[in-house]
């Protein structure tokens, strides 16, 4: 079997954290959808790892600074780092912001060996990255192995041709990042890539299908797919002229979205999908930049448009040396390394369904029209008050299709919260009211949490309502350790003669209606 193509991967550790601008030695973490996606070394020392929930991460490291993930910013800051490699090879593939790969054969012949190229890449990138983080470079057979080599490198490591399988053998199967498959494998007693590679390929294919086959090939130091990749005929790339030339990224991204749709339609018609998509932009004075992005048939039109936006943001707003002298006049999408489209299997039981996708699409559309903060979804947070237990977060920060909220019963109870049924209307601006007793005096709550006298009237905006039922008070004293967030209140359920039930709270001597059971 032919060995996969020699690949060089350059990796900047903790790039999402670097992009936030916080020094790495300070504990900080980057979150997406309330889960940690990256943590600085300072935070890792406290046990903050990927996948933790915000609350747990903050519990492990109280002075942790958290940041929402901003992929566009990550890509924008990474663009100048990648741009320095343009002199070494024209074909740099951005795997994701923070990591890029290039085929080492051509540059090695020119510069005289993999090691020279690796050192060159490392030096050039380190110059740009400066002290923000370090650059690690790995060279091996195939991009999968090369990335793992880069992770183990300090700062350069080369695995000689043909020995990639030996390098991979002791690695934990978790590096495959296929949790469903690796769970089963581990239960079968297979915990390293070497053990997986020793299994007969035909049996792995029979038992685990294409996914298993791909994993087995990676573990054996081969390409994920059998090397049947064809270079596409040139006319499958799509392009659009932009007239007058655009100097704003969003205009180009808008055009890119429609040509991405055209590209996907063309590929689909021919039953293929591409592993990479090249985004080529040209200015009115003929300056050109092309960058390859990993596609794998998984990018939607909008996702391609996002990558156009990231790439051009980095180019148009980057360092003055690289900045183009005019507006963008032409944009082209070039499909690279075509493979047969096997389709994306939608789940039969649960998982992502057509209705979920429709809802996700309309959410994305409304975000465009109304702004990201106007389209919200519930997220479990926990707390003593109804408005704290479930909060609304922008839909843009979570994966809508096939999402599952954290089960509520996993969380320890919150003493002091009121039993069901919960109020159906929560007032964001509580209404000040008066709660009076029979003699017309204001009802007070003593320091021991007792009412001074039973309430008989509720006065809302000058109108008096007779109280026919009441219960409480439930005193609550929250966050007494924090002077700003400290709250001390007593809550009362009141039913008035008109049949309405409301929650009133006494805080700092003022009664307020905070919620209704409408």
């Amino acid at each position: 079997m032919a060995a996969p193509v020699r690949t060089l991967v350059a990796w900047c550790p903790d790039w999402p954290v670097v992009a936030t601008g916080v020094p790495l030695d300070e504990p900080s973490a980057v979150l997406f959808a309330n889960r940690v996606v990256a943590a600085s070394p300072g935070a890792r020392a406290h046990g903050v790892v990927r996948g933790l929930r915000r609350r747990v991460a903050q519990a492990r490291c109280p002075d942790l600074s958290v940041h929402e993930r901003d992929e566009a910013k990550e890509a924008r800051l990474f663009e100048p780092v990648v741009a320095v490699l343009d002199d070494i090879t024209p074909r740099v593939e951005v795997t994701r912001p923070g990591a890029c790969a290039l085929v080492s054969r051509g540059p090695s012949r020119y510069f005289g060996g993999d090691e020279v190229v690796a050192r060159l890449v490392s030096e050039r990138m380190a110059e740009i990255v400066a002290s923000r983080t370090d650059v690690r470079v790995g060279v091996a057979d195939g991009p999968f192995a090369a990335e793992l080599v880069a992770r183990a490198a300090d700062p350069i490591r080369l695995v000689p041709p043909g020995t990639t399988a030996e390098f991979l053998a002791p690695m934990n199967i978790d590096v495959l990042e296929r949790s469903d498959l690796t769970d089963v494998l581990r239960r079968l007693g297979i915990s390293t890539l070497g053990a997986l590679a020793r299994l007969p390929a035909a049996d792995v294919l029979a038992r685990f299908g294409r996914e298993g086959q791909g994993a087995h090939r990676l573990a054996s130091g081969l390409d994920e797919r059998p090397p049947d990749a064809r270079y596409p005929p040139a006319d499958w790339s799509v392009s659009a002229e932009i007239d007058p030339p655009a100097d704003r990224v969003d205009r180009v991204a808008f055009v890119a979205r429609s040509i991405a749709d055209e590209l996907h339609r063309r590929l689909r018609r021919n039953g293929v999908t591409c592993v990479r998509v090249g985004i080529q932009a040209e200015t009115e004075y003929g300056e050109e930049v092309i960058r390859f992005w990993r596609h794998e048939g998984a990018l939607s039109d909008a996702a391609v448009a996002d990558r156009v936006r990231w790439q051009l943001d980095g180019w148009l707003n980057g360092p003055a040396v690289n900045r183009p002298s005019g507006g963008i006049a032409r944009i082209a999408l070039v499909p690279d390394e075509l493979i047969a489209a096997t389709g994306r299997q939608l789940g039969f039981w649960g998982g992502e369904t057509e209705v979920d996708q429709r809802a996700a699409r309309v959410a994305a559309r409304l975000q465009g029209q109304l702004g990201a903060e106007s389209v919200l979804v519930p997220e479990f947070r926990g707390g003593r008050h109804a408005h704290e237990q479930l909060m609304l977060v922008p839909a843009a920060t979570v994966e809508l299709a096939g999402r599952s909220l954290d089960p509520r019963d996993e969380v320890a109870p919150w003493p002091g919260s009121l039993p069901a049924p919960s109020p159906t209307r929560l007032l964001s601006d509580p209404v000040a009211v008066e709660v009076l007793d029979e003699s017309g005096g204001v009802v007070e709550v003593t320091g021991r949490g007792l009412l001074s006298s039973p309430p008989t009237q509720l006065i809302v905006k000058g109108r008096c309502k007779a109280v026919v039922g009441w219960s409480g008070p439930w005193p609550i004293d929250e966050r007494w350790w924090d002077a700003e967030a400290h709250r001390r209140q007593a809550r009362l359920q009141l039913v008035t003669a008109d049949g309405r039930a409301q929650l009133v709270a006494l805080e700092a001597g003022v009664w307020q209606v905070t919620a209704h059971w409408d």
């Binding site: 389709g343 299997q345 939608l346 039969f348 369904t353 057509e354 209705v355 979920d356 429709r358 809802a359 699409r361 309309v362 959410a363 559309r365 409304l366 029209q369 109304l370 106007s374 389209v375 919200l376 979804v377 519930p378 109804a386 408005h387 237990q389 479930l390 609304l392 839909a395 999402r403 599952s404 909220l405 509520r408 009121l418 039993p419 069901a420 049924p421 919960s422 109020p423 159906t424 209307r425 929560l426 007032l427 964001s428 039973p454 026919v468 039922g469 009441w470 219960s471 359920q493 039913v495 008109d498 049949g499 309405r500 039930a501 919620a515 059971w517 409408d518």
Partner: protein
């Protein structure tokens, strides 16, 4: 095989999910016989209904909670209609109406309802994983509702401003065309809702004077509307029932 199934297969022939469903049903026919066959097939058809990507004629109805079926002409929520709810307890009634379809797999959108208690929605049975809450500016209100129609099955609105009649007509015709259901809380729908439900009377139980806690609300709901829904009807229901979900009075006794 029932006609609906044949139709389903021919319509879904280009959809992998549809094919999987048809295959599953064939399997059932071939391999199962005896007393369990009927029950198993019914279960399989239920699954097929849930996962089918198309709207067939027999799927024009969305299931509502068992305790509320007698309020709707077909015992279910018909697609493309407008349901108006009003009275003290309207929000709770609206949540109870959408809880049934939501549990069966539909998406729900609250437009302008950022003050609706999410914990209460959860207790009523609305599936929070399939809930969008949208807070548009008043000027973008109609276009937001129009965009949601067809994309989500259930749209709950609590308009704070007066709705113009032309807007209401446009929304109504779009609903009929796309098959979503609009639930309007509070003020009456300007051109008349297809099904109008009013909480005529309600009484809280479990809370006394100085003791107990709010537990459930006995509500009498008066139904009206247009067409088949015009016949006046009335229903006693616990809204919310113990624990938050609606419950029929008979069941509670």
């Amino acid at each position: 095989m029932p006609g609906g199934l044949l139709l389903a297969q021919s319509e879904q022939v280009f959809d992998t999910r549809g094919m999987a469903t048809g295959h599953a049903q064939n399997l059932a026919v071939e391999t199962l016989d005896g007393a369990h066959q009927g029950a198993r097939r019914a279960q399989l058809e239920l699954v097929a209904d849930r996962v089918s990507p198309l709207t067939l004629a027999r799927e024009q109805n969305l299931p509502v909670h068992d305790s509320l079926t007698s309020l709707f002409p077909d015992g279910a929520l018909r697609r493309g209609t407008i349901v108006g709810v009003s009275g003290v307890g309207a929000t709770s009634l609206a949540l109870a109406v959408v809880a049934g379809p939501s549990a069966a797999g539909s998406w729900t959108a609250f437009v302008g309802g950022t003050d609706i208690g999410l914990v209460a929605a959860d207790e009523h049975g609305v599936v929070l994983e399939r809930l969008l809450v949208i807070d548009p500016a008043p000027s973008a209100w109609s276009s937001t509702v129009a965009a949601l129609i067809g994309a989500v099955d259930l749209i709950v609105i609590s308009p704070k401003h007066r709705l113009h009649e032309p807007d209401a007509r446009r929304i109504g015709s779009r609903l009929r065309e796309r098959g979503s259901v609009l639930v309007s809380i509070g003020s009456r729908w300007p051109v008349g809702a297809d099904v109008q439900l009013d909480v005529a009377e309600s009484r809280w139980c479990g809370i006394g004077v100085g003791h107990g806690v709010l537990q459930l609300r006995k509500a009498t709901i008066a139904g009206g509307g247009r067409g088949a829904a015009a016949r006046p009807r009335s229903l006693d229901v616990l809204l919310p029932g113990p624990g938050g979900a609606p419950r029929s009075v008979a069941e509670a006794d």
